[in-house]
C-alpha cells in the first residue's frame, strides 16, 4: 500500500498543532501518529483513494504552518476573549458609541485595563477548578491508575 512518512520536530511544532494538521487530512487519507524518539513525531499518511502522495504531504506542511499561527493567536488572546464573552453575556446592553479615536489618556487607561484583566483571569485560572480548561485531565491530575475510583 502506498504511504508517506513525515517526521515533525516538537521543537518547531507543538503536539496539538501536529494533531490538528493530521486531522485536517482525514477527508483524503488515514493518518497515523507516533513518537519518533523524544523530540519528534512520525506522521504516516495513507491515501484513502488515489490521492497524490506529494500533494497530501504539501497540504500537511501548509496546515502545520497555519495551525502554528492559529495556536499562537489563540494562546495570546484566550484570556481577553473569555473576558469579552462574559462581558457580552452579562452586560445590560446600553452602550454609548465611540466613533473617533481615543485620547492619549484613554489609550493609556485601556492598555492598563487589558493588563489588569489578563492578570485577573490568569489568577482565576490558576485556582483549582477555574472556569477555563487549559490542560488535559492527565496533565492536571496525572494518568488515572488502574482500579482507582
Amino acid at each position: 500500500m502506498k504511504e508517506i512518512s513525515v517526521k515533525v520536530g516538537l521543537n518547531k511544532y507543538s503536539l496539538e498543532t501536529i494533531r490538528y494538521s493530521a486531522y485536517s487530512l482525514t477527508d483524503e487519507a488515514y493518518v497515523f501518529l507516533r513518537f519518533a524518539g523524544r523530540g519528534a513525531v512520525e506522521v504516516k499518511i495513507t491515501p484513502k483513494s488515489n490521492a497524490n502522495l506529494n500533494t497530501l504531504r504539501k497540504r500537511f506542511l501548509r496546515e502545520l504552518e497555519d495551525e502554528k499561527l492559529r495556536e499562537r493567536l489563540f494562546r495570546e488572546n484566550a484570556a481577553l476573549r473569555e473576558f469579552l464573552v462574559i462581558k457580552a453575556l452579562t452586560d445590560d446592553g446600553k452602550v454609548p458609541k465611540t466613533e473617533d479615536g481615543l485620547t492619549p489618556e484613554q489609550e493609556k487607561e485601556l492598555d492598563e485595563l487589558i493588563k489588569q484583566v489578563e492578570e485577573e483571569i490568569e489568577r482565576e485560572n490558576k485556582k483549582e477548578g477555574g472556569k477555563q480548561v487549559t490542560m488535559t485531565w492527565e496533565e492536571r491530575y496525572g494518568a488515572r491508575s488502574e482500579g482507582k475510583k
Binding site: L73, L80, D91, G93, V95, L102
Partner: protein, 480 residues
C-alpha cells in the same frame, strides 16, 4: 494617539482566515470581516505597526487589533449577534396530520396516504402543545402548522388556531401563526377563516409547471395550477386589504430536486411572475424518505452550487433592471455578515435551533428537537425525541437530546469549524450529521452540507468584493 498612528505596535486579536478570489478574508467573533492582500495579512500577523494608518484604523474599529479594542461596543456587537442565546424556542412546528393527498417524489416529512386517519393530531394533543409553546420564555412565538397536508385535518387545525389566539390574549405573548399547505383543499370559507385569524400562508413552488408537477404528482390534476391559483388569490387579498386584520403576502418554498437544477432562470422567472419577492434556494437533505430515493432525485454539493451560482447571478441581473426579487439564503447570511444581527435562521447559528430555538410536535404528542429529528423518528430512531406534550417545559429543554444537539452543534467544539473563516455566520446540523455521517458530530472535511454552505459563503464574499454587486446586495437587507 489615535488608532492608526505609526509607531504603535500591537498584536492581532483572535481571527480566522480563508482565501477568497485571491484575497485573504479575515473574520472575528464579533462578525466583522475585512479583505487583505497577502502582504497586509503577513504584516497584521507580525505586529500592526507597519500597517497603513487607514487600514490600522479600520481593523481596530472592527476588533482585529488587541490593543485597540472598544470593549463596550464590541461586546455589545457580540451580544446582538447572539441575541438568541437569551430566548427560548420561538418556532413551534405542529404536525397536524401525517396524511397527504400528494405523492411528492422526495417527501421528507414522511407523509402517509389520505385514508390513514389514525395519524391525525387530536385537538386535546394540539391544546397541550399550544400550552407548552406558550411556556417558552421567548417574548414572541410562531406556531407553524404543517403535515402531511394540514388541511386534511381541518377540524383540529381550526380549533387550535382559535385556542391559540385566545391564549395569546390571556398570556400577553405575541403570537404569529403560519400554515404550510399545498392549497389543494383550500376553499373560500377556509381562506376567510385563516385571513381573519392573521395566519400567514406558505406553499411549495418548485419552478415551472413541468418541474413542479413532476416533483409533486397529484391524482386529481395539476399541483402547479392549484399552487398558482391560490398564490394569486392571497396576493390579491394582500394588495387590496383595507384595515382590519393584517393580511400577509403569501410565500413559497422551493425544494431543489435534481430536476430543478436544469432550470435556474425559469425558476426565478416563475417567482417574479407571481409577485413573490423571495426565493429560498434550499438544498435538499438525504434525511428520512429522501435518503431512500437520493440516487434518483439527489445531487452533490458541486451540482447544487453550480445551480445556486446561476440563480444568484440571474437575480442580480434582474435587480439591475429594477425587478424586486431576493434569494433568501443569501439575504439571511447578508444580515449576519453586514449587519452583524441574528436574522433568526435556526439552521445556521450555534448552538443550532434544536429544542432551544424550535420544537416539533408530532401528531401523536411526541416532541422532537426539530422537524428533521421527527422524520428520523418515523424511520424508527428516537434519538432526537425530547419528550411528550404531557411533560413540563423544563424537562423538555433539559432532555438528553436537547443537550446532545447543543453540544454537537457548538462550533467552538467542531475542530474544522472552530478554525473556519465562516464560523461567525455558520452552523452545523446534528440531524444531518447523524443521517449522513452516522455521528451527530460529523466530520466537516467530508460533509456535503458544509461543502454547500462553504460554497455559498465563498460566492457571497466574492460578490462583496465587486462594488456593483455589493451595492445591490446591500439593498437586500434593512439598513443598519
Amino acid at each position: 494617539m489615535a488608532p492608526g498612528a505609526k509607531g504603535k505596535n500591537s498584536r492581532a486579536y483572535l481571527l480566522n482566515w480563508r482565501k477568497v478570489s485571491g484575497k485573504r478574508l479575515i473574520t472575528n467573533d464579533f462578525g466583522y470581516f475585512r479583505f487583505l492582500s497577502e502582504k497586509e495579512f503577513t504584516r497584521l500577523m507580525s505586529g500592526t505597526s507597519n500597517l497603513r494608518p487607514a487600514l490600522h484604523q479600520d481593523l481596530s474599529k472592527k476588533g482585529f487589533v488587541r490593543n485597540w479594542m472598544d470593549f463596550d461596543s464590541l461586546s455589545e456587537t457580540w451580544r446582538l449577534k447572539n441575541a438568541f442565546l437569551h430566548f427560548g424556542p420561538g418556532l413551534h412546528i405542529f404536525v397536524i396530520t401525517l396524511r397527504c393527498n400528494y405523492n411528492c417524489l422526495y417527501c421528507q416529512s414522511g407523509a402517509l396516504p389520505e385514508r390513514v386517519h389514525k395519524t391525525d393530531m387530536s385537538f386535546e394533543t394540539a391544546r397541550r402543545a399550544v400550552d407548552i409553546a406558550f411556556q417558552s420564555p421567548a417574548p414572541s412565538i410562531t406556531i407553524e402548522f404543517q403535515g402531511g397536508e394540514p388541511l386534511l385535518n381541518w377540524k383540529t387545525l381550526k380549533k387550535t388556531i382559535e385556542y391559540a389566539r385566545k391564549k395569546e390574549v390571556s398570556e400577553n405573548k405575541e403570537l404569529s401563526l403560519a400554515l404550510v399547505t399545498n392549497f389543494s383543499l383550500m376553499d373560500a370559507e377556509k381562506a376567510e377563516f385563516l385571513l381573519a385569524n392573521e395566519v400567514s400562508l406558505c406553499t411549495s413552488l418548485d419552478g415551472p409547471r413541468k418541474v413542479h408537477d413532476r416533483n409533486r404528482p397529484y391524482s386529481k390534476g395539476s399541483s402547479y395550477d392549484l399552487a398558482v391559483k391560490w398564490i394569486k388569490y392571497f396576493m390579491r387579498r394582500h394588495d387590496t386589504q383595507k384595515g382590519g386584520s393584517r393580511i400577509f403576502k403569501p410565500s413559497a418554498l422551493l425544494t431543489v430536486t435534481r430536476f430543478v437544477l436544469r432550470y435556474p432562470e425559469e425558476t426565478v422567472d416563475e417567482y417574479v411572475k407571481l409577485g413573490l419577492e423571495d426565493i429560498f434556494v434550499r438544498p435538499m437533505s438525504p434525511i428520512g424518505y429522501a435518503a431512500r430515493v437520493w440516487d434518483k432525485i439527489g445531487y452533490n454539493s458541486r451540482e447544487f452550487l453550480s445551480f445556486y451560482g446561476k440563480v444568484l447571478e440571474y437575480i442580480l441581473k434582474l435587480n439591475e433592471k429594477g425587478v424586486r426579487i431576493r434569494e433568501k439564503n443569501a439575504s439571511l447570511l447578508l444580515e449576519k455578515i453586514l449587519n452583524r444581527r441574528d436574522p433568526g435562521y435556526l439552521d445556521l447559528r450555534y448552538p443550532c435551533g434544536a429544542a432551544v430555538g424550535q420544537i416539533a410536535y408530532n401528531w401523536d404528542g411526541g416532541l422532537y428537537t426539530c422537524d428533521e429529528g421527527r422524520m428520523i423518528a418515523q424511520q424508527g430512531d428516537d434519538v432526537f425525541r425530547i419528550g411528550t406534550v404531557h411533560d413540563e417545559y423544563e424537562s423538555i429543554v433539559k432532555s438528553g437530546a436537547c443537550r446532545l444537539c447543543a453540544l454537537s452543534s457548538n462550533l467552538e467544539q467542531q475542530p474544522v469549524c472552530f478554525r473556519c473563516a465562516y464560523k461567525p455566520y455558520c452552523g452545523v446540523c446534528p440531524v444531518y450529521n447523524h443521517e449522513a455521517q452516522k455521528s451527530v458530530w460529523g466530520n466537516m472535511l467530508s460533509n456535503e452540507r458544509c461543502a454547500i454552505f462553504m460554497g455559498i459563503f465563498d460566492l457571497i464574499f466574492k460578490f462583496l468584493q465587486d462594488k456593483k454587486k455589493e451595492r445591490i446586495l446591500k439593498k437586500w437587507i434593512p439598513e443598519k
